[in-house]
Assembly symmetry: C2
Homo-oligomer: 283 residues x 2
């Protein structure tokens, strides 16, 4: 298939969106930071199925990284991203420079909703404000009818859904299931950082989730006990640090002392120097 | 003419917007807090001229008032507002309850741009955050192509324009000239608070602006001198307090030490217990 057309600036995207709107085409947007894997591609497929036109945005958003994080080393692989997209179907790519998204006197931002505060919010203080702001900009730029997010970033989709609800953004959010390697490892652009030993340790996240799901299905209702046990399993498997091992309400993300379904289990742990997250919902 | 149709909740507005969008109608929105006067009606006329459908929103937004301000006494005159609108033309009114705009778990907001910080921002700390958030919600709810604001609230239109630019909101902002009484008093919903003595003192705002415009046209280039003189003229006329008398850049709203055109002159003063603002641009 032909490589997708790549739009590099805001004006060319807006012109293109105008032509689609004029003929009544529906638009799907898949916001990504590039380094595309099969998880991203599943979102692209969902958009191709639901919308007339699909825009994949590729933008490593600096405002969602903290100074100690991996902004400078984050994988940038545009050529192979375009190859992968061309195999999936006919999409447009919006891959702007940072100055297109944040011009010199840029100064408005989104104060992310309360659901951004626990979990990731405690470990990545400005992360969700940066995510919410860039995502709203991408929604507005593409005037998309549908946006596609992965369940892998569970809290992110909650933040985005809450923002869309609170600000009445006229877009429908679709959340697609986590895509995993055959051995259970959730796909992530950061998996490339893992050595083969670390990759083995990283499997403890999905294994711990599977074990915990089993515990709940077998009647475990003590949320605190389950959190302590999940954390211990990760440590025993050799992770370097556990940021959280949580049993939470899937809507509010508040910790659940007594488990009532639906519930979401969320893990964040560092393996070597690579921070990984994973989650499972029990409905 | 028939009274306008009044939509009371978000869902009925969204349904109505959907029917307009489906047939390709352009939408103009005129955000107001009601207590409509000829200034508002000039915005409605501008919208009727430019857009296929006009939605006038009437919502006294609590989040843009500080605890010491006049939220509870702010004039609410829906019946006469509807009468006035029916004289102007065929519009729709969106007049929601507070819980429609801010449901129980509402928690996302806009961190207003830097242009919100001086002037009003120094005297009404959370004002523009509240304005920006509700205005963005109204833009999203109406999916309007055009929004109409008065130059009377000069800083407000700058905040809104900057937000629209920064967040790439797909809407065009139109700013309409200040409408004044024959004697110069800028129309304001708060003018009803003025006693006849206070109303006389209130004329000092427009008169001071006229005088200052004359000074600039006669060659005055010392911004600080002009600011001191404007403040003194308001005090001499009997205003109770001057919040600011500023000579500023119309884009950044930064104070101008040496006057270069274009320039905006901005006044905020309290007469009795009524806070009034006014401004003039010299281009």
């Amino acid at each position: 298939m032909l490589l997708p057309e790549v739009l590099r600036n805001v004006d060319s995207l807006k012109n293109q969106v105008g032509t689609w709107k004029q003929v009544g085409k529906t638009i799907g947007v898949v916001p990504t930071m590039g380094a595309l894997h099969d998880g991203h591609l599943s979102l692209v497929r969902a958009s191709l199925t639901e919308a007339d036109v699909t825009v994949v945005t590729i933008f490593v958003n600096p405002t969602q990284f903290s100074p100690t994080e991996d902004l400078d080393s984050y994988p940038q692989t545009l050529e192979s991203d375009l190859d992968k997209l061309s195999d999936v179907g006919n999409v447009w790519v919006f891959a702007p420079a940072v100055t297109e998204i944040y011009p010199a006197d840029f100064s408005t931002s989104i104060l992310a909703p309360a659901v951004s505060e626990p979990l990731e919010g405690e470990h990545r203080p400005n992360h969700f404000g940066g995510v919410a702001t860039v995502v709203l900009k991408l929604f507005n730029l593409t005037e998309a009818n549908f946006a596609f997010f992965g369940q892998k970033d569970f809290q992110q989709q909650r933040v985005v859904q809450q923002m869309v609800r609170d600000l009445n953004v006229p877009i429908k959010i679709r959340v697609c299931p986590i895509v995993r390697e055959p051995d259970g490892l959730a796909l992530s652009s950061r998996n490339v950082y893992l050595s083969s030993d670390e990759r083995e340790i990283a499997l403890s996240l999905s294994r711990t989730l599977n074990w915990a799901v089993g515990q709940i299905l077998s009647g475990q209702r003590d949320g605190y006990e389950l959190m302590v046990e999940m954390r211990q399993r990760l440590i025993d498997a050799g992770v370097t640090r556990v940021d959280y091992a949580a049993v939470a309400d899937p809507h509010s993300l508040a910790t659940m002392e007594t488990i009532q379904l639906p519930v979401v289990l969320l893990l964040a742990a560092t393996v070597g120097t690579t921070r990984l997250i994973d989650n499972e919902v029990v409905a």
